[in-house]
């Protein structure tokens, strides 16, 4: 019962935080600099690791499906499988998992330490709402960088698959055949669905990170606990949401 209360309390405060943040949207022109800063810190800085990870996910996917499809004589469908898997599922999911590990942990640590060291209290006495000053720039920035990161990840993953198909001897599917198969069944709708997933995941991750950070109480030890809680909660949330969004979009 105690845990259930904590879950609902957390959920309620996250919704309230999002409401407060977006209620201060009219002041958005004033925070453009902070939004751009967040796009750079959270988005641009995550790009290299997204690229590396996506490349190898695409490569492994091509390798695994190559081995399996070979048995059925359906090697020419590797492109379709890699393409669809990355667009509809693995692209948004892997970028979100990276975001949870890299950006959510850093965000929670920063906000939790601001809370513990009374910087958030200082903002409140200055009548600067933390939701506007700390949360809104992060949420707005996320709306910009999340689809870009996801799209970049998907495309690099496709190329990872193409290179494996081209150069791993026993697969023997050339790039032209691979991309033909990939584009044959690919539609804008599928890409759009993947990007919607990424946006929802990204929004939830950043909201959870900010909410967990701002709810931190106690001393420096709590900062570490808050970071762990934030990452775990983000991962659980995106996996649960993944099921429901996939079902809704199907």
């Amino acid at each position: 019962m105690k845990h259930l209360n904590a879950v609902f309390e957390g959920l309620g405060s996250a919704i309230l935080l999002a409401y407060r943040a977006f209620a201060s949207l009219p002041s958005a022109p004033r925070i453009i600099k902070r939004v751009v800063e967040q796009v750079y810190l959270a988005g641009y800085s995550t790009l290299p690791i997204v690229s590396i990870l996506s490349f190898f996910i695409g490569a492994v996917l091509a390798l695994q499906s190559g081995i399996s499809l070979q048995n059925f004589g359906a090697k020419q469908l590797i492109g379709t499988l890699v393409g669809e898997s990355l667009v509809r599922e693995l692209g948004p999911l892997m970028v979100s998992i990276l975001l949870a590990g890299r950006v959510a942990s850093a965000t929670t640590a920063e906000l939790a330490s601001m809370k513990v060291y009374q910087e958030v209290d200082a903002l409140e006495t200055m009548n600067i709402p933390p939701a506007r000053f700390l949360v809104l720039p992060r949420l707005l920035a996320n709306l910009f960088y999340m689809p870009v990161l996801t799209m970049v990840g998907i495309i690099i993953g496709w190329f990872g698959g193409a290179i494996v198909c081209e150069y791993v001897g026993f697969i023997g599917v050339d790039s032209e055949q691979y991309f033909h198969s990939l584009t044959q069944f690919m539609t804008i709708r599928k890409v759009f669905d993947g990007l919607i997933k990424a946006e929802v995941f990204g929004f939830c991750i950043i909201l959870i990170a900010c909410n967990t950070g701002l709810r931190t109480k106690g001393g420096p030890r709590e900062i570490g606990y808050a970071v762990t809680r934030s990452v775990v909660l983000s991962l659980i949330t995106i996996l649960i949401l993944d099921y429901f969004i996939t079902k809704a979009l199907a």
């Binding site: 022109p29 004033r30 920063e110 601001m114 060291y117 009374q118 910087e119 209290d121 200082a122 409140e124 006495t125 200055m126 009548n127 600067i128 709402p129 000053f133």
Partner: protein, 265 residues
């Protein structure tokens, strides 16, 4: 860009009064403040003293509106301090014990944040205001530094400068001289007294620094175990007979009968 808010008229910037009425604060089963009532007159320096753990900082947080009392009220000119409208109406500045400077911002940006966020004036005026505050606190050379590069004393001075930029009507200080050497303590004490004289700002100082209190306070409140024991002028406090207060203000070191053996957990 949004038109800057017009600056408040001087008449709107009169020092404010603070009324605390029957205020109690509990954390779970722990009663930290018990039925505290006091009034701070406009423009006075009011020092809240008491031993560590007596609830001084908690009382200050209720006055600043950072926490809600369990029962009773704290009011600034009759308004609830936790409401953003009250903070819009009366500029309230709190100097935190550890400074609470924004670590990701330079000293200049820390000071400029309030007028920038509230669009109080044009950027060149903000720069003038910030540089003026830095000059008062002898911090002109620290403008580009980050809080992590400052000493404890400098952080406190920056925190005071940041409060000064707000042109507050109510200044709250939480242990402004703690962890400082005697010279820096005296400097901070002088700054508090000068700011009050020059800017006619109502000032509440939470401290267990007896020298600070007896030197600059108009009135002193003694808080012990969450109970307000007395409110008196420094002169009246020198003649007080309450043994607990006498012991707090003039503790005698008795090695034959050490007090640490009698401390409550």
């Amino acid at each position: 860009m949004k038109k800057p808010n017009p600056p408040l008229e001087r008449s709107d910037r009169n020092p404010v009064s603070v009324e605390v009425a029957n205020l109690s604060k509990n954390y779970g089963s722990q009663k930290v403040l018990k039925d505290v009532s006091l009034t701070v007159k406009p423009g006075e320096i009011f020092v809240i003293m008491g031993p560590s753990g007596s609830g001084k900082s908690v009382l200050l947080r209720q006055i600043a509106g950072l926490e809600s009392p369990t029962s009773g009220t704290a009011r600034i000119n009759g308004y609830d301090p936790s409401l953003p409208e009250t903070r819009d109406r009366f500029a309230l500045a709190l100097v935190f014990q550890a400074g609470a400077l924004f670590n990701s911002l330079s000293v200049y940006d820390n000071l400029a944040l309030y007028p920038l966020e509230h669009q109080l004036c044009e950027k060149h005026e903000i720069r003038d205001r910030v540089m003026h505050a830095l000059k008062i606190l002898s911090l002109e050379n620290a403008a580009k530094k980050f809080p992590s590069e400052l000493s404890g004393g400098m952080k406190k001075r920056v925190a005071i400068a940041r409060a000064l930029v707000m042109e507050p009507q109510l200044m709250l200080y939480d242990e402004p001289t703690s962890e400082l050497d005697p010279v820096m303590s005296a400097t901070i004490t002088e700054i508090i007294a000068t700011l009050k004289q020059e800017h006619q700002v109502t000032t509440i100082v939470v401290s267990h620094d007896r020298d600070l209190a007896l030197t600059i306070a108009d009135r002193i409140a003694i808080l012990m175990k969450g109970v307000l024991r007395t409110v008196a002028t420094p002169a009246e406090l020198r003649n007080v007979t309450d043994p607990d207060i006498v012991d707090f203000l003039n503790p005698k070191i008795d090695l034959k009968n050490p007090r640490y053996l009698k401390l409550e957990v």
